[in-house]
Subunit: 187 residues, 2 copies
């Protein structure tokens, strides 16, 4: 239909979507520090209500949360309505000199991330910087990225507080027993 | 096979891949400022020889280059060997007060990026910061992202020289006549 494709293809000054159903969203707001990690894997900070229309478009099968905070009621209801599976790892970020993420926990989390049956998955912590940065850094090691490029990506999000996390990523050597039958083809 | 999956699942201290065929690459080096934009679309700076093993894993169908520089011989040979289609837009970046990217050129480029027949596509300029940042910013407008999140993403890569590019993205209103039959489902 000519009229519909013309609406879809234009950028209007108000950014209005076509006038139908629940698609009428003027502006999409991705969660803080949202980005794509690899096919089927997204990263971000903690999603909240204003991100829901955006999240719907991702058609998520699961959300992984690395945070000791509980989901609030709105988010709990949203994931229930959308039939999204939750993986919640209640871990605190690296904080020198006393708090260090357990390698085993990152390994457990990676097993879920590296299972295409959970894709698309959104992995998030509170700010989308440090804990997720550690997880993604360890994922990049499995992909055999150079440490230089791993750290460059890490710092793009974290900006500050890099040393403890970078060391965590560099030292990480835990076995990651993902299921080879369901691993993504980019690994 | 237990032995194979055990090799694949471990991070070894030398990062060595299994001893077969041309897969024996110790370290994968992504191009400068490599990242994923959306399913089927990657961004980066200008790829070079040390990135070739990494690029092979992406199974690219096309590469889009926004740069007035010619491909060097090695890269030309690589894309020929890999049967990768090239889209070359010889544009210079925004440079106040006299040089400004033409909106029409970004629109033409977006038509190619928004055609799944060209996916997976790597879009790159020289550093993977400014010209690609403009293109991705305009793509985000088509996805109806908030300007705040568009600029946040832009700055994650560009770090400096943001104003002319941000204004370009904000003002961009060119019609983008992509083919609705082959548009990605995330648009």
């Amino acid at each position: 239909m000519a009229s519909e494709s013309s609406t879809n293809n234009s950028i209007t000054s108000t950014h209005t979507l076509p006038n139908n159903s629940d698609e009428e969203v003027k502006v999409m707001v991705p969660p803080l520090n949202f980005a794509m990690v690899a096919p089927g894997v997204y990263r971000s900070g903690h999603p909240n209500r204003k991100n829901f229309p955006f999240l719907k478009k991702l058609k998520l099968k699961s959300i992984m949360c690395l945070s000791s905070d509980e989901f609030n009621e709105e988010l709990s209801q949203f994931v229930k309505d959308q039939n999204i599976q939750i993986f919640h790892y209640k871990i605190d970020g690296n904080k020198e000199p006393f708090i260090e993420i357990e390698q085993k926990e990152i390994s457990n989390a990676l097993v879920k991330v590296l299972d295409i049956r959970n894709h698309p998955v959104l992995i998030h912590c509170n700010k989308g910087k440090h804990r997720i940065g550690c997880l993604v850094g360890c994922l990049r090691k499995l992909q055999k990225w150079s440490l230089t490029s791993i750290f460059h990506e890490y710092r793009r999000f974290a900006v500050t507080k890099v040393l403890a996390d970078q060391e965590f990523i560099e030292i990480f050597s835990e076995h990651v027993p993902y299921n080879p039958d369901f691993k993504p083809d980019w690994l």
